[in-house]
Symmetry: C2
Subunit: 135 residues, 2 copies
C-alpha cells in the first residue's frame, strides 16, 4: 500500500515536470525564426475563400516545407486600424521557418502547383514579406 | 492509508487536467484573438530605428493596454519574398488582444503621446490592420 502511494507521487511529480517543460517550449519558440508572410491585399472586386485557404491551400504548402516549418498561422483581415481607411489585407498566411534557403529549396520545384492553386481561393495577387522575429 | 491513496489519485487527476488545460491554452492561445498589426512601409529615404522601437515605443504602448494585451511581437522586414520586388515593410509590431473595444478605449486618451513618439524612430506612416486569428 505504501509502495503504491509512493509510486503515485512519483507519477504526479514527473507529470508536473513534463507538462511544465512543454509549456515553456511553446512560449519561447518564435524569437530568431524567419517569417514568410503571404499578404492578400483588399481592393474593390477582390475575393478570398478562407475555408479553401485553411483546409486545402495552406496544408498543401505546409507539407512541402517538412521539418523546416515550425508552425504556420492564418489571420482574416477585419478592418483598417485607422478610421476611414480601406481594409489593407483580406487575409495573411505566415510560415515560421528555421532556414530561408531550405524554404526556397522546398518551394522552388512546387512553385507552379502553388500558383495554380491561387485561382481556387482568390483573385488578388499577394505581397510577400520575409522578416526576422525580433520579439 | 487508503484515504491518502485515494486523495493522492484525485490530486494526480486534477493536476493532469489543470496542466492539459494550460498546455492547450498556450499552444492554441492565439486562435480567436484579435491582432492589431502596425506595419511600416519601406520606400526610398524612409528610416526605422529598431532599437528605439523595441526598447521604448512598444513597451510604452503595451503598458497602456494592461491585461487586455495577451502578448506583442516585433518583426524586422528583410526582403520581399518575390524576386525583384522592393521590401514591402521595414518592420511590423503586433498586439494580440482579447477585446478590440477595450483596446480602442485604452489607446484613445494616449493617441497623441503615441503619435508624438513616432518621430523618435521613423519617418514613415504606418498601415494598421485589425485581423482575427483563424489559426
Amino acid at each position: 500500500m505504501k509502495l503504491k502511494l509512493i509510486a503515485s507521487f512519483f507519477l504526479l511529480i514527473s507529470s508536473f515536470a513534463a507538462f511544465s517543460q512543454e509549456k515553456q517550449n511553446s512560449s519561447v519558440v518564435e524569437k530568431g525564426l524567419t517569417k514568410v508572410s503571404v499578404m492578400y491585399p483588399f481592393a474593390e472586386g477582390k475575393t478570398f475563400n478562407m475555408e479553401y485557404y485553411e483546409t486545402k491551400h495552406m496544408p498543401m504548402v505546409a507539407a512541402f516545407l517538412g521539418s523546416n516549418l515550425v508552425k504556420y498561422t492564418i489571420e482574416k483581415g477585419v478592418a483598417s486600424g485607422i478610421p476611414n481607411q480601406p481594409l489593407p489585407f483580406m487575409a495573411i498566411g505566415t510560415f515560421y521557418i528555421k532556414s530561408l534557403s531550405e524554404y526556397q529549396a522546398a518551394i522552388g520545384p512546387n512553385r507552379d502547383a502553388i500558383r495554380a492553386d491561387f485561382a481556387n481561393y482568390t483573385n488578388t495577387t499577394p505581397v510577400i514579406l520575409v522578416s526576422e522575429v525580433v520579439r
